[in-house]
C-alpha cells in the first residue's frame, strides 16, 4: 500500500490521456455488461426455477401448426401428469399496431390454470373465482394491468389476425408472476366462437407433472404416444420452450460473444498504447528509481499496477452506470415494446459483476505486460542516457 500513492499519481500524470483511455474501457464495459445481462435475461427462466415441473407440448413441426383437442384426455392419462391446459396464442391487435400496445394474449383453462399448473403465480382467490365464472373475462399480469391502467370491468377489444375473430373481453383482475407481460382468457371463449378451430384444436398444451424426476419420462411418453398420428408432438420443458424463441433469432449468443471479444481486443490495444506511451515518457525516471534501489520487480509491478488501476477505474464506472442507469433506462424503454417479456430478468447478476471485474483486471494486465517488461529490463545506464 505504501506504493499506491506513487501508482495513483502516475496514472493521473496526463489527466486527459488517462480520462480518454479509461472512457474507452468504460464504454466497452457498459456494452459488455448490457449485452451479457440481456443474453442472460433472454436465457433465464422467468419462473425462477419454479417451472421445472411444467412441460409444453407443441406440434412437432413447430408452433405454426395446431394440435387436436382430443389429445388432452390421452395426455392426462399418462402417469405423473397432474393437469393439462390447452393454450392458444391469440395474437390480436390491441388499440393499434404500435409496439407499446403489444400484449401477450393466450387462452387457457381457468378451472386449473392458476390452481394446478401456474400455482407459483399469485392471484387473489376472489379474482381467480370470478375469472372462472366469467366466460369473456380475462386476467392480466400486474405489469400489463398497471401499464394500461385497467380497472375491473373495463372492456378491451382484441382485433384477431390469424384467428379471424374480434375478442371483446372484460378485465377481472391481476396476477403476479415472473413474466407479467401476458393476459389470459377462457379457452371456451374461442371454442364458442365461429373460428374454424373452435372445439377442435389448440395451439399447445401446458401441463404440470408430479415431480422433476417425472419430466423426462412424461415428455418421452407424450411424444411416443403421438409419433405416428396426424399431429405428432414435440414436448419441451418450460425453459426449452422459451429458449426456442431465442434460437429463432439465430445464434445470438455467438454473435454477442463475438462482438464482445472484438471490442475487448480493440480496447486492450488502446490501453496498451497508453501504458506504453506513459512508460516511454518515464524512461529516465524509471532509471533514477532503479538507481535509488528499486528492483526490476518493483518497476514491473508499478507499470502493471498503473495499467490495472486505469482499467479498473473505467471498468468500475462502466459497471455502475450500466447497472444503475443504462439497464434500468433500457428496461423502462423496453417495457413499452413487444420485447418486455424478455426484460423480466434484465438485470446485472453477480456473475456478470465478477466477469466485468475479471475483464477489467485482465485488460489491465494484458495491456501493461509488454511495456512493464520492457521498462523493467532496460539497463539503468541506457535509461539515464536518454536525457543526459
Amino acid at each position: 500500500m505504501k506504493y499506491f500513492h506513487l501508482i495513483w499519481r502516475n496514472v493521473f500524470r496526463k489527466k486527459l490521456r488517462t480520462t480518454l483511455t479509461a472512457s474507452s474501457i468504460f464504454l466497452v464495459l457498459v456494452l459488455i455488461v448490457i449485452l451479457t445481462s440481456l443474453l442472460q435475461a433472454m436465457q433465464s427462466d422467468p419462473s425462477g426455477g419454479k417451472g421445472a415441473n411444467r412441460l409444453v407440448v407443441q406440434h412437432a413441426t413447430g408452433l405454426g401448426n395446431f394440435l387436436p383437442l382430443s389429445q388432452r384426455q390421452r395426455i392426462e392419462q399418462i402417469p405423473g401428469v397432474v393437469a393439462v391446459s390447452p393454450e392458444t396464442w391469440f395474437g390480436g391487435v390491441y388499440k393499434d399496431d404500435k409496439p407499446e400496445n403489444w400484449i401477450g394474449q393466450l387462452s387457457a383453462d381457468p378451472e386449473i390454470y392458476f390452481d394446478k399448473i401456474f400455482d407459483d403465480a399469485k392471484i387473489d382467490p376472489q379474482v381467480n373465482a370470478e375469472w372462472k365464472a366469467t366466460r369473456n373475462g380475462f386476467v392480466a399480469g400486474q405489469k400489463i394491468a398497471d401499464k394500461f391502467h385497467w380497472k375491473k370491468g373495463d372492456h378491451i377489444i382484441l382485433k384477431g389476425t390469424y384467428i379471424p375473430i374480434n375478442a371483446d373481453l372484460v378485465y377481472i383482475g391481476p396476477f403476479q408472476a415472473g413474466d407479467e407481460s401476458n393476459i389470459f382468457f377462457h379457452n371456451e371463449y374461442l371454442n364458442q366462437s365461429n373460428w374454424f378451430g373452435a372445439n377442435k384444436v389448440t395451439g399447445l398444451y401446458y401441463l404440470k407433472v408430479d415431480s422433476g424426476e417425472d419430466v423426462p419420462r412424461v415428455a418421452a411418453a407424450i411424444d411416443r404416444m403421438f409419433e405416428n398420428s396426424d399431429a405428432p408432438t414435440k414436448t419441451l420443458t418450460e425453459k426449452q420452450f422459451q429458449l426456442q424463441f431465442m434460437e429463432m433469432m439465430g445464434n445470438v449468443k455467438l454473435l454477442i460473444n463475438g462482438i464482445s471479444l472484438i471490442i475487448l481486443f480493440a480496447v486492450t490495444l488502446i490501453v496498451a498504447n497508453t501504458v506504453a506511451m506513459s512508460a516511454r515518457e518515464r524512461v529516465t525516471e524509471i532509471a533514477v528509481m532503479r538507481t535509488l534501489g528499486f528492483r526490476r520487480g518493483h518497476i514491473l509491478g508499478f507499470i502493471l499496477s498503473e495499467s490495472v488501476v486505469m482499467s479498473l477505474l473505467g471498468g468500475i464506472l462502466g459497471v455502475l452506470l450500466a447497472k444503475f442507469v443504462f439497464i434500468p433506462a433500457l428496461v423502462a424503454l423496453g417495457n413499452k415494446t413487444s420485447i418486455s417479456a424478455w426484460l423480466v430478468n434484465f438485470r446485472v447478476s453477480g456473475e456478470t459483476l465478477l466477469m466485468a471485474f475479471v475483464i477489467s483486471v485482465g485488460v489491465g494486465i494484458l495491456a501493461g505486460f509488454v511495456p512493464a517488461i520492457r521498462s523493467s529490463q532496460r539497463r539503468i545506464v541506457d535509461g539515464l542516457r536518454q536525457v543526459v
Partner: protein
C-alpha cells in the same frame, strides 16, 4: 589515514556498438579513503560518468575489480546490487531527476519506501534531510514549483536520506547559475566535513573541483593525473 572505502583495481570498460568494440575506460586504478572528497575531471567522452556509474553499481566493468566498503560490486546479483545501492550510495544528477508527480517530501521519502521504517520514522528522516539542505519550508512543493537550485537541494536530500556512506554526483552544478552552484558546492562540502560523507563528483568546472580534496584527471579513458587541492593538503596535514 582512513582506510580505503573505494578501491578500483585495473578496471576496463568496453562498450559494444553493433560489432564494434569501443573502449571507454582503460586500466583504471583508484583508491578513495573514507571521508575523502574526490573530483573527477576531464573532457567530454573521457569516461568520467562511466567511472562514476561503475562506482555507483549501476554499470559493471568489462575487466577488473571494484571493491566498495569491502564488497566486490561485480560479484553481486542485480537484486543484491539494488539493495546495496539503496543503503550505500546516494546519487546526485546534473538535471536533478526528481519525480514530477511527487512533492519534495515524497521525492525525498522515495528511497525510504524500500526500507522497513514506519511512516512516522520515514517522516522524521525526510524532515531531517530536508532541514540539512535548508528546505524545511518546501515539503509540499512540487519540482515545477521550485527553482533549479532548490530542486538540486531536494535531490541531495533524497541522496542522503538513507544515510549512505558514499555520495556520487554527476555534474551537480552543471545546470545551475553561479549563485545556486556555489550554494550546492557549499552543501556538498558541509556533507563531507560535518557528516563524513565520501564524495565522488564529476565536474568540468575547475572552481567546483577545487572544493574537493583531490582532483583526478581522465582523458580518453585513461587516468592521467591526480592532484591534491588546497583543502586536500590541509586534510593530509
Amino acid at each position: 589515514m582512513s582506510s580505503n572505502l573505494i578501491e578500483i583495481d585495473h578496471v576496463e570498460k568496453v562498450y559494444r556498438r553493433d560489432q564494434i568494440e569501443v573502449p571507454v575506460l582503460n586500466d583504471i586504478n583508484l583508491k578513495v579513503p573514507e571521508g575523502e572528497y574526490v573530483a573527477l575531471m576531464g573532457p567530454s567522452g573521457s569516461g568520467k560518468t562511466t567511472l562514476l556509474n561503475l562506482i555507483a553499481g549501476i554499470d559493471s566493468p568489462t575487466r577488473g575489480r571494484i571493491v566498495i566498503g569491502g564488497r566486490e560490486v561485480g560479484s553481486m546479483s542485480q537484486s543484491e546490487l539494488a539493495a546495496w545501492r539503496s543503503s550505500s550510495i546516494g546519487f546526485i544528477f546534473q538535471l536533478y531527476n526528481l519525480l514530477p508527480v511527487l512533492d519534495a517530501f515524497e521525492n525525498v521519502e522515495l528511497p525510504l519506501l524500500l526500507t522497513k521504517l514506519s511512516k512516522n520514522e520515514r517522516r522524521k528522516h525526510v524532515e531531517t534531510a530536508l532541514s540539512i539542505v535548508g528546505l524545511s519550508d518546501r515539503l509540499d512543493h512540487y519540482p515545477r514549483q521550485l527553482s533549479g537550485g532548490q530542486e538540486q537541494r531536494v535531490a541531495i536530500a533524497r541522496a542522503i536520506v538513507s544515510d549512505p556512506k558514499i555520495l556520487v554526483a554527476d555534474e551537480p552544478t552543471g545546470d545551475l547559475d553561479a549563485k545556486s552552484a556555489e550554494e550546492i558546492l557549499d552543501l556538498l562540502k558541509r556533507l563531507n566535513k560535518e557528516f563524513g560523507k565520501t564524495i565522488v563528483m564529476v565536474t568540468h568546472d575547475p572552481r567546483a573541483a577545487s572544493r574537493a580534496h583531490r582532483m583526478v584527471h581522465l582523458d580518453k579513458g585513461v587516468l592521467h593525473a591526480e592532484e591534491l587541492t588546497e583543502s586536500g593538503t590541509m586534510r593530509q596535514l
